[in-house]
């Protein structure tokens, strides 16, 4: 008996992680907040710890208009060009 495979055979994507930063001192931070209640405040507080402990600089806050949709590609591309690392999170 021959069975077709029911899973996707679409184009393979590279989902590997970016290399970790060698050091944090003086790096620029971006915040990607998802629009949920208190998200900006919580992520801002996390970023402030990096500022206090490592002299990081908060460069930009990026927002998603829809908490459960992927961030627009252009937003991620802009963040990649503008900051050294991005802080984001998800929760209710």
């Amino acid at each position: 008996m021959q069975l077709y495979d029911p899973t996707s055979a679409g184009p393979e994507r590279n989902l590997s992680r970016a290399a970790a930063l060698a050091e944090l001192e003086g790096r620029t931070i971006g915040i990607l907040e998802n629009g949920k209640l208190n998200a900006a405040e919580m992520l801002g507080e996390v970023a402030s710890l990096f500022v206090a402990r490592h002299g990081c600089i908060i460069r930009a806050v990026y927002a998603k208009s829809n908490a459960s949709a992927p961030a627009p590609a252009e937003t991620l591309a802009r963040a990649a060009a503008e900051v050294d690392f991005l802080i984001t999170g998800l929760g209710d």
């Binding site: 008996m1 069975l3 077709y4 029911p6 899973t7 996707s8 679409g10 209640l37 459960s68």
Partner: protein, 339 residues
Amino acid sequence: MPLDVQRIHDVPDDLLAAIDYCYAQGWTDGLPVIPPVVERVQAMLAFEGRPPQAVITSHPATGLQLTVHAAAVNAVMAGCLPEYFPVLVAAFEAMDKPDFNFHGSTASTGGSAPLLIVSGSYADDIGMNADVNLFGPGNRANATIGRATRLILRNVFQMIPGISDKSTQGNPGKYSFCIAERSRGNPWPLLCEAQGYPPGVSSVTAFAGGGFCNIENHGGSTLGQSVVVLAPEHMHILAAAGWTRHDTQSFLFAQARRPVDGMRRVGKYRQSEYDKQHDADPHALLEPGFVHRGLAPDDILITMGGGDAGGHSCFIPSWSRGRLSLMQHKPIGVCIDCD
């Protein structure tokens, strides 16, 4: 030849062993599936005009794609007959529209399941149940089209519970959640007509539904309850009073509201949501100081379904309390607004 057409598994010529093989591969929803043998898949494909490698839906986050071929394989596994296939294809075309928010509605903790509502003569042609126990078991088309939807989400889009499907509790509709709109005795234009499709064209509407809330009203002909799928008994009360779909939507829109102060007290008030309703070109039925359900009466879809006996309608809330997923519809088996 696309990859999924090439990927064939040779298994022993034993039906029960083949079912077990599908389990072992992780291809099931927990229930046994029909092994997707080549002949059955080819029969399913005969009901779709596009080539097997044509893409129906793409996942906006992972890039995974649903081809016509993969849809056919999963339809066979769910137990669909070939004539059901156009409904399944149209449903995924609808879910591919950006406003449906395919990723969020299938991954969220909220536990959404895509509710499919088939409207028009095609539902009758394939023997769907819009009548007694329409949400329950017993009808092959309802059960297997809904089940195929879930199998595709699992097998093609890898929405695996606990990994990429993070539903806190899920809901039983995640096994199957597909009904037909009842046309028999329906005093209103069918959804497919209200959606603007030409005469004779049926449609399927996909809605990221939360759980199922039964609404009981055996008591009389008052109109004070919020419903989405009206039982015939309730529908005829409305129709006898001369109410149209629009009248009913408007009534529900005006009544389905909460005072701002009350929402503040339970920590559910958001100024941005209130502003979205009340600031820019607000609907005339909106009352200041209240948060309504939706932005306009059209946000409350009303259809009819169920048996003749019993005043049991139901309300299915959106998975999203906001507008993260908007219901979408598509014609079945015809190309009207193809991209």
